[in-house]
Structures are given as C-alpha cells and as structure tokens.
C-alpha cells in the first residue's frame, strides 16, 4: 500500500491549489469561505493520499470534495436561517458601461442560485467538464446534472430577461440550453 507522503502532498498543494481555489471561490462567492473550503478539502485529500498516486486523480478527488462540501455547507447555512444578504445591483440604463454592469449582475445572480445549480454551472462552464464528469464531481446522476444546469441557466435567463428585455436574447442565446454530455 502506498504511504502518505507529506512532501509529495505539499508539492501537489503548491501546484494545484491556485486552480482549485478559483473553482471553490466561484462556488461559494466569498474569499475566506473558499479558503476554508479548500483547506478542508485538501485535508480530506491527504487522508485519501495513499490511493491517489496520480496527481490528476488527486485533483479530481479534491474537486469532488470541494463541490460536495460546498453544497452541504450551504444547506447547513440555509437551515440555520442564514441567507445571502446581497441584493442584485440596481438597473442601469442600457449603454452605460454595459459589459461591466452585466457581469456584475451575473456574478450576483450566480451567487444567489441554489448551491447545487451554482456548482453544476461552475463545473460545466468554468471547469469545462462534461456532464458525466460533472456528475462524478457532484456525486450525483447525469440526469441531475442536466436538470440542475437547466434550472440554473433558466433562472439566470429569466433574471436577465426581466432586466435587459430583448437584449437578453443576445446575452443568453437559446442554444446554451442544449447541454451535451
């Protein structure tokens, strides 16, 4: 059985933690929370280290722990009555620094999605994972990934539609809803 080698593990952390940190941040929306999440996920990875000899497997394992832990943390927060307090940015006239405003709005809207929908969207469209890979990272069925991505994008689409009217069709073209494995 492979041993748990702190030096190898430290090398892995140094090499991959920036990328994993970015994904964690997109899932939780807070820098400190993302860092705490990564610390916990990497600790679990260290426990599993003897069976994660290939660094790519270790990264996939850590990503899965980040995803499932992020979802469970948010479930816990919602049961404790904690809700996001941020509100979506107020409307700005179309034409006024549109790109920045749209991205700001989209970031806030992304963070207000339910955690599973948000995780699915981050894995599919930031990490560029396939549906099967996303299902493995979320520890769920492929069908669940489809429905979570679909529901999350529908909410973003609806919000953008309410805000930008017809222009939203250009921002969120319908073909994005065709999610392929």
């Amino acid at each position: 059985m492979a041993r748990r080698d702190p030096a190898d593990f430290a090398e892995f952390v140094a090499a991959r933690s920036p990328a994993l940190h970015r994904a964690a941040y997109l899932m939780v929306g807070e820098r400190q929370l993302a860092q705490d999440l990564l610390q916990e996920a990497l600790t679990k990875t260290y426990v599993a280290w003897p069976r994660l000899r290939d660094p790519s497997k270790a990264e996939a394992y850590t990503r899965r722990v980040i995803t499932t832990t992020a979802i469970s943390w948010y479930r816990r927060k919602s049961w404790q009555g904690e809700r996001p307090t941020e509100t979506l940015p107020e409307g700005t006239a179309v034409g006024h620094d549109d790109a920045v405003t749209q991205r700001e709005w989209l970031w806030t809207a992304l963070q207000e999605l339910p955690p599973r929908q948000r995780a699915a969207i981050v894995l599919r469209f930031y990490e560029d994972l396939t549906e099967a890979q996303t299902a493995a990272a979320m520890d769920c069925a492929v069908g669940t990934v489809k429905s979570q991505v679909s529901a999350g994008l529908a909410k973003l689409r609806t919000g953008l539609g309410n805000r930008y009217g017809d222009q939203a069709h250009e921002l969120l073209p319908a073909n994005l809803m065709v999610v392929t494995p």
């Binding site: 600790t43 260290y46 994660l52 919602s78 049961w79 493995a136 969120l172």
Partner: protein
Amino acid sequence: MTDLLKDMMNERADALGAPDLDVRAMVRDGDRRANRRLRTAIAGAAVAAAVAAAVVVPSIATRDTASDELVTGSLGGPLAYAANSTIHTEQGSVDVGRRILAFVHTPTGFVVADVTGAVRSVVGSEIIKVGQMDPEEGMRFASDGDVVAWVEGDPEGEQYAVLDHAAGTEVVRGRAGTRPVLDRYCDQVCPMRIIAVDGRTLYFDDARGVLARNPLDSEPAELIPAVGGERPVVLDVAGGLIARLAAGETRVGPDLDGGQQIDGSDLSPDGQYLLSESPSTWDRGIQPKVFDAATGDAVPVDIAGAYWEAHAYRWLDGDTFAVLARDQDDDLERFVTCDVGGECSVEFSVPVDVPVLLPAR
C-alpha cells in the same frame, strides 16, 4: 452566453489572490483522521472475519429509541418529501431525529439516510437502524418497489447492502465482485456504485460493463459486457431494459449494444416507458416528456405546459409518475401525480421556501 458567463467567471477567478493554506495543519489533521479510520477498520474487520462474504446477516437492526421518541405521526399517500429531519406526506409526518440527506419511499414505508450516514427503516411509527453509509462518499440509494440497496464502507472495503422492506429489516451484505471503474474525474478507483435495482437484481457499475447480482435469492452474478471498447454511462435498468448514454445519445435495450435511441433517463418499473424532460427555454422551465421505450414514440403528457416548470422526478408504478410543478411567480410548489396518456392531479402543495428533498427514484 457562454462568452458572457465564462468571461465573468474567468475575470472573477483571475482576480483572486493565492490562497493562504496551512499544509502542516492538513498533514496533522489528516494523520489524525486516518489513524481514527484505521482503528475503526480494524475493529470492523474483526467482526467481519466471523461472517462469510455475501451472507444474510441475521439482522444488524437495532431499536433506535432516541428517534422513536421523536415520532410525530404515521404516514400514507403516494407522494412524500423530506425537510430537515422530517418526512412529510399528504396524510402525516414523521421526524426521524436527524437531518435527512437521502431517502427512498417504498410501498411499505421509508428508508432514510441521515447526516451521520445512518440508514434507518421507517414503517409507521417504528424506526429501526439497518445500516451505515459513509457520509464522505456521498449517500445514494437505488430501489425498485420494496427492494432498496446502498453501499457501505469506504472505497478500500466497500460492500453492498440490500433490504426487502416488505419482508422486514433483514439486510443482505456482501462484496459485489465488480472490477473497479477508473476515471480521472472521480478518483483513482471510483467508489462502488449501484446504478439501479430491477426487481430483486442489483446492477453495479463495472469497468467491463454492468454487473447484475441478486443477493436476496443467492443467484450467480452476471456480467453484461460493454461493446466497442467504450464503457457507457448507464442511466437506469428496469423491466430487463438498460438505458445508457453512449456517444452523446441515450439508447434503450436489453444489453449494451444497439437499442432504441430515445432521449430519456428514467425507465418505468416494467420498462415500458421512459421519462424525460425538455430543456428550459426563454419563456418556460423544464417540462416532462414520456416515450414508449419499445418504439421511441412520444406519449402525450397532460401536465406539459400547464405550469411554468414541471419536474418529473419518479415513477410511482408502471404508468404513473410524480411531478413537482410551479408557476414562475408562484409561492407554492405542487406535488402532482400523472397517468401516462391520462390526466394529472395535484395531491398537495408546499411553500417554495421549504427545503424540499425528494425521494430517490
């Protein structure tokens, strides 16, 4: 959209500074946890040595008296959901005492997994512990009627556990004998996964295809081999048919070769129909679709279009399925039953802010 969404996420991520991590604390905490696991594994192995593999355990079930005190009522009705530690139906609710993370609704009652990984049978007011999942490996059930299966143990010592709820709380456990699936996106060795239960047969993910095993009746395992060198993603097994995803298409057939191309992932218990969902569009959320699994023909669905969003989540019998539906600005979610080719009826509603957990299919 890809551009807008991706650009936004890339911008946000790129602006993030390097994380301030404590590797020494990871190693210290990790070693402590690993040692604790090792002690537990050694204790478990000593017990397991006295029991041959794949035998009917005389019942590890124990009365869960702490939970019994929390029971608030008996249950009934075709539809159920869980919220926090309580299972609700139209006719009652029962509090199992700990937050529920997954559950199965059987004809006899419920099988629930809580936040600690404990698996309990809930029949009326009687709650009995029947097993233990590993919360860190995710909690997932597969079931068909009263037969419920799950995975116990860690990836280095996984075993299946299966229960015929109609017969009581006796659990059969054993090693599946699967060849581990290797996938760079789950782990070096993926955790054992029970894809589905069809009748009394469990279907396991296997590197060679799908492994079918009926431990309740001590039948020999059967390998359904993958064809063409590419391992398919198996979505469901029911009525002797397998729904799988391969080369971007869903196909349904008796094995992993050929079959009818249908866009769906959830077979009815007898394999006659396949449940699917149309993707959401600009002005409408997801809607249920039903196909004849033999011909691939679409079957009319009464509820399609009646609500802004309708999520078909579970077959209740051979031609009835359950739907969770809501309108866009509605403050209620409706639990609906639909007959294939027939009518749908709303069974009950819950406020949208209730954290509804639906039963596993």
